[in-house]
Symmetry: C2
Subunit: 298 residues, 2 copies
């Protein structure tokens, strides 16, 4: 029975506590708000751009920030979706309807217009590794449009599982430098070239987020990107899910361990950000990864 | 075929290089020596005490240090074995013979004399968790006898797999503080209360060490401690072995990542070591773990 109101539970938390639908929704929102306030993710007057797909994580992030913005009125939000062009997977119809119903301004950009090719065609034609080219282009577009739309921060739907996976992936590939860019808020606040990224769902698990989205009846699809099924991340995800089953709380421990050393990593790997010789976008190399890929496309 | 002499290979290294028996033995010893020299594990005049069981790791460590000591003559070694009293598992007959044949002085101490009970009886009578009580008592005895025998350093047989497991275990249990005590050389050099621990096999894998011991025909048994089969470490070991099979080099990456942040961890978690109120042995608490356990035994 639910720990608080003795009705039928919908979930058992890692602590062993069981919660009913009503108490779970309350728990979920409280936890997101606590994270926002603890890490100062949103400041007064912020213009927050939420990066959205049609998935549970980003729609949940959008709805939580939308609700908070309507209630407290100290910041504004809008949404940005990127259509990579993945046939049979990416579909923004539901998202458009959701934003329209909730009066959230939605901007849509796509790979075809920006780079001349859909992701499907980039992969077919140039044999790129799907996730790495997609990641580079998405990050570039998110940053570019956050700046264009004068956003102070860019919110993403990353949850605890995503973060634990990234931490372990970087450990397993001896790529600790990249971990310095993780955490509940990343990037350089008040540097006009970057919108810092914030992760409101940082301490909420994949399972909790999926359940919340289901209970709130968001118009989402639960299908997975066809390119992501056999990636290094997928292997790490499977490994962590299996281990978490036998040792509940492992993902929390990973993220908590990581947060202890994150300030040390940031300090050790403090990057000198310059601008790309080609496109003038911020980069830590001479030429940014986007321009490198663009040259290969040409 | 062997990369160097084109004869029948006995192993394929992670790099894809294949080596014959002769070249593998050379590779193995060179790698251990490189580690000893890179991390300055042994200094001129050192009196090194090697912690030994009858297992492949400690016998290999002992033999490598013995050979080096005979060839270079700038340090001395002796061996220390701890008989915990694990029926059907711990047997020091072969070790005694090996040390006698090689004229290595071997000291043997046992739980029964030191604590009044064998490990088997401690577990039966007091329901202790085998690995944690064994670890606490072993570490205590190793340190105590290293001091008694005026050893400058204590060498152990930890290999790359052991280290990768410990690093990940501490991450998965949010116990990063303990990781500050890992590394190829640990402890406080020149503090007379401690003998620093050194790990000559730090960059050699479990598989490489097992093969080396087999090829050298050391009188070892390959059985596993009956208490270690279903521990948290065993789960992490299985997880890493499985992942390494699909992504060769993962264990190396884990250890390399770790070594990048080890100085930061040491700095962050620098312990103030005092002495135990009861037994006057060094400890970071008021009463050391050994005395805590002793009180429970009484």
């Amino acid at each position: 029975m639910c720990k608080f109101c003795e009705t039928k539970p919908v979930i058992e938390l890692i602590s062993g506590r069981r919660l009913c639908k009503f108490c779970f929704i309350k728990y979920f929102e409280k936890k997101a708000l606590k994270n926002i306030s603890k890490y100062n993710l949103i400041e007064k007057g912020d213009n927050i751009l939420v990066g959205v797909s049609s998935g549970k994580d980003s729609i949940t992030t959008l709805s939580i920030l939308h609700k908070l913005s309507k209630e407290r009125k100290y910041f504004k939000i809008s949404a940005l979706a990127i259509d990579e062009g993945i046939k049979g997977y990416r579909n923004l119809k539901n998202l458009k309807r959701y934003c329209k119903e909730n009066k959230i301004r939605l901007h849509i950009i796509n790979f075809k217009d920006e780079f001349g090719y859909t992701l499907d065609n980039l992969i077919k034609k140039f044999k790129f590794m799907p996730c790495s080219v997609c990641g580079v282009f998405r990050r570039y577009l998110l940053n570019k449009y956050a700046r264009k739309l004068k956003a102070d921060k860019l919110a993403t739907g990353h949850n605890l599982d995503d973060e634990a996976q990234s931490i372990i992936m970087n450990y397993f590939r001896d790529n600790l430098e990249t971990s310095a860019r993780l955490g509940p808020i990343t990037g350089i606040v008040r540097d006009k070239r970057f919108a810092p990224r914030i992760k409101p769902l940082y301490f909420l698990t994949e399972k909790e987020t999926a359940l919340y989205a289901l209970l709130k009846k968001y118009p989402i699809k639960f299908n997975e990107c066809p390119y992501s099924l056999s990636t290094f991340r997928a292997h790490v995800r499977n490994l962590l899910n299996e281990f978490e089953n036998n040792h509940p709380g492992t993902k929390y421990s990973i993220v908590n361990s990581f947060l202890e050393i994150l300030p040390l990593l940031k300090d050790k790997y403090r990057e000198k950000i310059g601008v790309c010789k080609e496109c003038k976008e911020p980069t830590s190399s001479e030429i940014c990864k986007v321009c490198e890929l663009r040259m290969r496309i040409k």
